[in-house]
Symmetry: C2
Subunit: 345 residues, 2 copies
């Protein structure tokens, strides 16, 4: 039986996670879960973010379902680094996966794109690069201040994520784009390119391409249909996935997995959107991204059929929406869960 840790978190995180769990109840019947009260409330009450004891407990689960973390009462960065990034690093979640699809009914800011035109995934490295925290400041706050940030990259870390991306490309349309900035970041760029080319030799069935990050950012806007799988480093991936979310209709619909493909620790699945304190508690948050994150979770746990059912139900939900009508959080969850139940019965 699958054991899921649920961190609903702050603001609308609570509401959308409840709906994701409705769907999970039918897609993964009988799954066990433990709720963890982490996020702004815990931090404001106790100053704690992710106590070691909780980290150990989380580690005993098969996956983590996360809602949203963050509140204006907490200084920016504290919960992101102390909770979200800490999970990625401690649990070696080296594949940060973000599928980008333009769903029927979703509205893209791009002209001339139809549902189905955009369908790619970004495989972002999750445990290296500029995210390690290496660097420092001298003479802070004075005119003499300097600051450094160090990007740390290993062949080990690069090769494993590149390999994962090749595997995913092979299971999709067979095209993989490496994105970096090899013409300027020659040290890390060289390492990435070498790892990529070496692994490519093992995947003759996958066609490959290299793009500088600035070009890729542009192509995501003016020819997003040309991408199948993108593999890139931690920071570039952070930026590119938000562009991807924008062209497919906003982060309101996007889901992401911080994945440990080797299952040595749990992986985290969450909607990309934040806690949206402005609309929290009103029952109007769209739970579709949270629900989509359960599809990624199911896929990771080897339940491809259930994952496909959730995705199909989400697609129908979005297609059925009337753009004038305010959605109700609970009703969306009910509809999608019923649809999934119908498919799997």
């Amino acid at each position: 039986m699958s054991r899921i840790a649920v961190i609903a978190g702050d603001g609308i995180g609570q509401e959308v996670t409840a709906e994701a769990q409705k769907v999970l109840a039918v897609a993964l019947p009988g799954y066990e879960y433990t709720e963890y009260d982490l996020g702004a409330r815990l931090y404001n009450r106790t100053g704690e973010i992710l106590p070691d004891s909780v980290l150990s407990e989380l580690d005993e689960h098969d996956a983590i379902l996360l809602g949203a973390i963050g509140d204006p009462t907490v200084p920016p960065g504290v919960l992101e680094r102390g909770l979200l990034l800490k999970l990625r690093f401690e649990f070696d979640q080296y594949v940060n996966l973000r599928p980008s699809r333009l769903y029927p009914g979703a509205s893209s800011p791009l002209a001339d794109v139809k549902p189905g035109d955009i369908d790619f995934v970004v495989v972002r490295e999750g445990t290296e690069g500029l995210y390690t925290g290496a660097g420092g400041n001298l003479h802070t706050g004075s005119p003499a201040e300097i600051a450094t940030e160090e990007s740390l990259n290993t062949r080990y870390g690069t090769e494993r994520v590149v390999r994962d991306a090749f595997e995913r490309a092979r299971r999709r349309r067979g095209h993989l784009t490496l994105v970096h900035k090899t013409n300027v970041l020659v040290h890390a760029g060289g390492l990435w390119k070498r790892a990529f080319d070496d692994v490519a030799a093992e995947y003759q069935d996958v066609t490959t391409e290299y793009q500088h990050v600035d070009a890729a950012a542009m192509f995501l806007v003016n020819r997003p249909h040309t991408f199948d799988v993108i593999v890139t480093d931690n920071l570039f991936g952070d930026i590119l996935t938000d562009i991807a979310a924008a062209v497919t209709g906003g982060i309101g619909l996007a889901a992401t997995g911080s994945i440990n493909p080797d299952h040595t620790h749990p992986s985290t699945f969450e909607p990309v959107h934040g806690s949206a304190p402005d609309i929290a508690g009103q029952g109007i948050a769209d739970p579709v991204a949270a629900i989509s994150s359960t599809a990624l979770l199911l896929e990771h746990l080897g339940r491809a059929d259930a994952a496909a059912a959730v995705n199909a139900a989400v697609e129908r939900e979005l297609a059925s929406r009337d753009s004038g009508t305010q959605i109700r959080t609970g009703e969306v969850g009910d509809r999608v869960a019923a649809d999934v139940a119908g498919q799997l019965s």
Copy 2:
């Protein structure tokens, strides 16, 4: 009399620079210029990229007009680092300026935007950050390889570019957005935020905003009209300006200045597009971006009236185009030069 160094460079760089010079001849009558044969041809012939003697000669000019650098025969990165980046660093071109406007007649990939809706400038830092080359590799090519890239940031370098951005915001619509990633890059992000807040206190008439780079990348796609001036670091600026180019109709139309606002060394002005070897020599390259770069050059040399005339002529040129018709490089230059001459006579 203004002295301009002309580096037409490779491919269509030659063709579009000739047109830019036609326009400069009427906008800056009697200007003196020296042509420098730098780029792929020189490199392939002699192995030289930017000899010290040439660097000293360039330094005696008021500005550099550059076409495009690069050819498939030269390994990627060599000319970029040896010429373009070297000029930025040696000539202390700390303001990398890229105006983004949606011109009438230009076609944006975005739905629901009209000419005039998008009008902002990005002030990108040009001499620090991840562009210094700091970093290295160990055990290169082996499974044990590691690579580092170091972002170097000084209060000195940050404050001066932030101040420049505040000045530009004051001369425009009075709104400045700082873009960084302070929640992850705490060291450099902290320095940037401190410098920004300190300088902001001197510009009470400018409203300010902070955005994480991932959010900014998204907003450039789904609400580009909300930006006036953006200030950001070297690498973020590289990425954001390409998104900006994409939403305003592609890098084919964008111009950029690598500016030393203190005039202690010459500044470089160029179209954003590359040398496009595939269409070189056919007389069909669009010189509009190269021509726009002369407007930035004129502005920098204190000829605001001439700059405005060039911009107005470019706008009319683009508006007059019939989307079905192939442009002819030379005709565009003739038309724009005639228009500018008419305005300034």
